[in-house]
Amino acid sequence: MTDTIAEHADSQLSAGEPLVEMVDVGKSYGAIRALKGINLTVKAGEVTGVLGDNGAGKSTLIKIISGLHGHTEGQLKVDGEEVQFTSPRQALQHGIATVYQDLAVVSLMEVWRNFFLGAELTGSKFPMAPLKSKEMKRIADEELRKMGIVVKDIDQPIGELSGGQRQCVAIARAVYFGARVLILDEPTAALGVKQSGVVLKYTAAARDAGLGVVFITHNPHHAHLVSNHFVILKLGQAVLDKKRDEVSLDELTRQMAGGDELTELSHELKRS
């Protein structure tokens, strides 16, 4: 299952090496402060689980790492060098690939065209040069089979695949084209139990191949299965930042469900 990843992952990656570091990063949209004082390190060979309720700042956080929005406070370092991204293309050039839950693929296009979208194989640099479509189909089919995704027909529109398969194709594509840091935006949110399992397995495989993974979710169970490190965001700030062995699934779940606020609320409700 991990052949694709092992083959294409950067062999220079050594586990534990920090790939992306955020030091006291904040982001304001005009007068609104969406994110404040975030310290986060994405290390090679580790999964960082970022959890939070809606509006907690998860999206803002990934938008900063993936280059969609620039940060306004603090430092963002990639491979130890400070950067300020202005477009997703710049982040991609640094090997940071983002797989968005809803933006992963173009559903009316064939599986192989999706796989190579933006990085098509052609004979020359001339824009009208013919695509090497046979080769592209063969590679896409092989790579997907290695992951255990067997599509009926590599020519079928990708919209016909299941949600989990689509997500996996998007992840496989990012890895195949040399991503070193993988940002997964709620990859399991719209999926059933079995499909989520497929995505989680693939996330673990990416981790084991030495990639740094940022796993964004609001499902503590999924986060706990694969992550080495957990960050819980609330109102734009990190309220929990612990390693895997320092925190139990119960605590994660309790924090996600509202934590202390919930306890307070239950007291209040009892009184009345």
Binding site: M1, T2, D3, A6, P88, R89, L92, T98, Y100, L103, A104, V105, V106, S107, L108, M109, R113, F116, L117, G118, A119, E120, T122, P127, M128, A129, P130, L131, S133, R145, K146, M147, G148, V150, V151, K152, D153, Q156, P157, G159, E160, R173, L200, K201, A204, A205, D208, A209, L225, V226
Partner: protein, 354 residues
């Protein structure tokens, strides 16, 4: 979870049994132009049955000529629609390109080649402006090009009246360069006993080129992607703005080409022409299976759509009916085509259990 990484890949091969080759009928149904093809055959048989004058090679050539005058611009409009945008200014832009060439050269006494070249630059600028405004402002292309449609329509009339004092351009057939330009844009070629209009050949060449670009090149891939899901395309590094602006300019190029044809065929142009033509291009594209929302369609389908237009246009005349009914017929065709396409698309993209 970590142990999964050591698992051999045998599992995947064992699953190949799940794979089925889709039947021919399914693969055919999945093509965007199939609905249009069925409609074209039905309409063809219909007119052959009711209009005896329809049953000759000469009639076919006339139909092809009528198709080409719509089809050339429809190629561009179809590509633009696959790319998820709309151009309502294409019809008057055709007239604007012709007027520009005619008046510029006539008033200044310049060789027509210079005017044709400048007219192309002008047309491409209009296309660029359309695309730039759409991408920059985020306003739907329907509104932006509706704006340029009115601007061009007004300028066509206004400027023509200022320059010539009438609503038509002076006859240019005595000017330098006329012969060669007429040969390129408006000649007829004898093939055996028949005369084929050169626009038919241009049309077929443009369709072939567009089909190649859409299916076989990187740019084609990007066109489908920006039309299907612009945000996804941008996220994987497709230059969305450049692709869309390029598509608007492609429409402008084909509009200019038809403008040249009309000018060099009739030697004079009416400033009010072209209004309403933009819808015919869109109809040809939609009847040909292009999805109004983008991301789906192909060049062959658009060509068949234009051919249906040509058949209907001439068929009504050959059948001896009042041509006033043509548009009503076209409207019914459009509704039928859209319903058939929707139905076929549902059939072909429904998830099949393998």
């Amino acid at each position: 979870m970590t142990q999964t990484s050591e698992k051999p890949t045998m599992g995947a091969h064992a699953e190949t049994g799940n794979r089925v080759k889709l039947g021919l009928s399914n693969r055919l149904l999945a093509r965007p132009e199939i609905g249009a093809l069925v409609a074209a055959i039905a309409i063809g048989i219909f007119f052959i049955a009711v209009a005896p004058a329809f049953r000759s090679v000469d009639s076919l050539l006339t139909v092809l000529y009528a198709s080409s005058t719509i089809g050339i611009v429809a190629v561009g409009v179809g590509m633009l629609m696959i790319g998820g945008e709309f151009d309502l200014s294409a019809g008057v832009a055709v007239t604007a390109a012709g007027l520009f060439n005619a008046m510029f050269c006539y008033q200044l006494g310049i060789n027509l080649w210079v005017g044709a070249a400048l007219s192309l630059v002008f047309a491409l600028c209009v296309g660029f402006l359309n695309g730039f405004l759409v991408m920059r402002t985020g306003i739907p292309s329907f509104l932006i090009t509706l704006g340029t449609f009115f601007v061009l329509q007004g300028c066509n009339l206004g400027i023509t009246k200022i320059v010539t004092g009438t609503v038509s351009t002076p006859n240019i057939n005595q000017m330098d360069g006329y012969g060669a330009l007429n040969a390129i844009f408006a000649s007829r070629i004898d093939v055996g006993a028949f005369r084929i209009s050169i626009t038919v050949l241009w049309w077929l060449a443009f369709v072939a080129l567009a089909a190649y670009v859409l299916q076989r090149t990187k740019v084609g891939n990007w066109i489908y992607a920006v039309g299907g899901n612009a945000a996804s395309a941008r996220a994987v590094g497709v230059p969305v703005t450049r692709v869309k602006v390029g598509l608007f300019m492609t429409v402008s190029f084909f509009g200019w080409f038809l403008g040249m044809h009309l000018l060099y065929r009739f030697n004079t142009l009416q400033a009010g022409n072209g209004i309403g033509q933009e819808f015919l291009y869109i109809v040809a594209a939609v009847v040909g299976g292009t999805l109004l929302t983008g991301g789906y369609g192909n060049a062959i389908g658009v060509a068949i759509g234009a051919f249906i237009f040509g058949m209907t246009n001439q068929g009504i005349v050959y059948a001896g009916w009042d041509p006033d009914w043509f548009r009503a017929f076209l409207g019914v065709m459009l509704l039928l085509a859209v319903s058939v396409n929707l139905y076929v698309k549902k059939l072909s993209t429904a998830r099949k259990v393998g």
